[in-house]
Amino acid sequence: MKETGDGQGTDRFRAWMSHTPARLDVGRAGTRPPTKDMLRFRLDHAAAVDAVYGEVKPETLDEFGLFSADTQYRDKEHYLKYPGSGRLLTEESARMLADRCVSAPQVQIVVSDGLSGRAIDDNLADVLPALRDALAVNGLAEGTAFFVRGGRVGVMDDIGRLLKPEALVLLIGERPGLVTAASMSAYMCYRPGPGRRDSDRMVISNIHPGGTPPVEAGAHIGTLLRKMIEQQASGVKLDV
């Protein structure tokens, strides 16, 4: 077998490594990873865990005048153990939405922390204005946007039951990975309501500066919403 570590091999492996985000060529101390790589891993994991247990900053919501509704999530532990609790609003929040929101809007925008509050803090300021511009360009009228604390994707159906929008878009924090703890998804559904399935929804995922750029995502969501309303369908039935 060839000798290792010659200059040429080094350059070629660096080039190969540039094709993957995997944590390669870290070296070792005995059989253990070097301290700086161990700490980098720990930092990325810490950021992911903190994103799960963190809350969306009040300033983020204030900036866009979003008021807060609650699901039946109770607390983080209950939210993680019983996903169903994040799919239903509390009775109090349901009453509040009935009071404060436009009923049967063309497009209902909902924002939720999901599994990463940081995803909302980091991306909403780029996604939401771009989305609103796109709604205007596509001639779509928006209802009353709000924030849902402790939401799961299925909460779209509970909101659909209450507010009866033609189309609903949920901007929600994704389960954090080590690459980024602040990735957002946009789930969309035509006439959401009880009994809708995953196949009835569309999603643009991986929205963060290193993935789907937030501003582009906002424009893309607007186009999809227009098609959903034109074709009166979403999910696998939509011809995109």
Binding site: E3, R12, W16, H19, R23, R28, D44, H45, A48, P176
Partner: protein
């Protein structure tokens, strides 16, 4: 079968064997989510006490999912060695536990009685065993399997190199694979989870891994973990596959959720036996994991430990080369924290071995579970002590495609060195010839992937 008992002046009643099996489980979030868990610790012990007195014949008679209603139950029933069963049918689960733990009862005897047991009996036994019971009993059992190479020998710890890539990029995949090899990882299988489930993707990854194996003459096997039907199309199209892969569930309905049934598995089995590129008798790689049936709403009110055992009852019908439980992948609603994941890892490994399976574990967690890398390092050591056939290695424990953490290449080398475990024999010889391993330890040249660039 007794379903009622009084402990410390309080009476506990259970509906049937299914209820007893569920409530006898150690605590886990999935059973609470399903609404079938014990209400408190004393009820848990009450269920264990009654289960201890159950006879194996009663467990067979009161199957939670009768064979006439479910093809997995039929596969389990058909797998029973009736002669062996007849010799143990009168034992209580308590007697079974003590027999399993006796010094005189060796691994081949455990494999013998395992062939006479249904998956529900093995699950019941597991529920009466402490973590150390599970480790000691499993450590007695040696399961050796052969595909292109043989693994599973006592004193070895094998590993799957899992060089996944977020876009199935062949060069990026190879960079991860070369680093695995440089740490002595990859003797069980070079196995890639593809992002895209197209036959062409699977074909190109099978060719890429085969090319590396051939170039460096590596004693291992390749596998690309797409859906079995896609792998079949790739193999029919001439792709070089040593193994077929499929995820299994413990109920017919759960398997339908995975897009498979027994007939499809039999068809795939015939294909890999005729068209596969390996010579050995073991041609399957199966994955399982507690909670998958509940997540597909296909659990029939049965607890996730019993359902997991049923996956193994199905798997053993196909004489697989490797089986592993992806223990911490499913999320906190099924296994909430490190205590639950560690317990489940030891349970699954023991139950798989009692079924005679070449059992590995993906020692892993997601970022919304209450667990971290320290917990995985601990579970890795416990499982290696229990004689686990293989574990999974990804660069620095971070799978950049599936977005979860498993064990690192470093961790596998460390566990081997700390516990005196060796890679599979042929792979060890290959590593020694490559100058990566000497006397069971990494050499100064190890850890550098550059040597494998060609």
């Amino acid at each position: 079968m007794k379903l009622r008992t009084t402990l410390r002046g309080k009476e506990y009643r259970f509906r049937d064997l299914t209820d007893l099996l569920a409530k006898a489980n150690e605590e886990r979030s999935g059973d609470a989510l399903a609404g079938i868990a014990a209400a408190d610790m004393t009820e848990r012990v009450a269920a264990k006490s009654l289960l201890a007195d159950c006879l194996l014949s009663e467990i067979r008679l009161h199957s939670p999912l009768p064979p006439e209603n479910d093809e997995v139950s039929r596969a389990i029933e058909e797998g029973i060695d009736e002669g062996t069963y007849a010799s143990i049918r009168g034992w209580s689960v308590a007697e079974l536990r003590e027999y399993v733990l006796r010094t005189e009862t060796d691994g081949s005897e455990l494999l013998r009685i395992g062939r006479g047991m249904t998956s529900e009996m093995i699950a019941a036994l597991c529920k009466l065993m402490s973590n150390l019971d599970l480790i000691q009993a499993a450590a007695k059992i040696e399961v050796i399997t052969t595909c292109r190479t043989s693994i599973g020998y006592r004193g070895t710890l094998s590993s799957r190199a899992q060089p996944n890539h977020p876009t199935d990029h062949a060069t990026g995949m190879k960079a991860s694979l070369f680093e695995a090899l440089a740490y002595g990882v990859g003797d069980a299988v070079i196995g890639i989870n593809p992002v895209g489930d197209a036959a062409e993707t699977i074909k190109s990854l099978l060719h890429a891994t085969r090319e590396v194996i051939a170039h460096w003459n590596i004693p291992t096997q390749n596998c690309v973990l797409g859906h079995v039907t896609t792998q079949m199309r790739a193999v029919q199209g001439g792709a070089p596959a040593d193994l077929l892969f499929q995820s299994l569930a413990g109920t017919e309905e759960g398997n339908r959720g995975f897009g498979i049934d027994l007939a499809l598995l039999r068809e795939a089995d015939a294909l890999i036996r005729s068209e596969g590129t390996a010579d050995g008798p073991n041609r399957w790689y199966f994955e399982t994991g507690q909670g998958s049936e509940l997540s597909a709403n296909a659990h029939h009110g049965i607890d996730q430990v019993t359902l997991e055992a049923r996956c193994y009852g199905l798997a053993r019908r196909f004489d697989p080369f490797i089986v592993n439980t992806v223990v911490g992948f499913i999320g906190p609603e099924y296994l909430y924290d490190s205590k639950q994941v560690i317990r489940a890892g030891l349970e699954d490994h023991f139950m798989g071995k009692m079924h005679g399976l070449p059992m590995g574990v993906d020692v892993c967690y997601t970022n919304h579970m209450k667990a971290d890398q320290n917990d995985m390092e601990a579970l890795g050591v416990l499982l290696a002590t229990a004689g686990v056939n293989f574990v999974i290695g990804v660069p620095m424990a971070d799978d950049c495609m599936l977005n979860y953490q498993s064990l690192s290449y470093h961790d596998i080398a460390t566990i081997r060195e700390t516990l005196g475990k060796r890679p599979a024999p042929a792979f060890e010889t290959w590593l020694e010839e490559a100058g990566i391993l000497a006397g069971g330890r990494l050499t100064a040249a190890a850890g550098d992937a550059r040597r494998f660039i060609y």
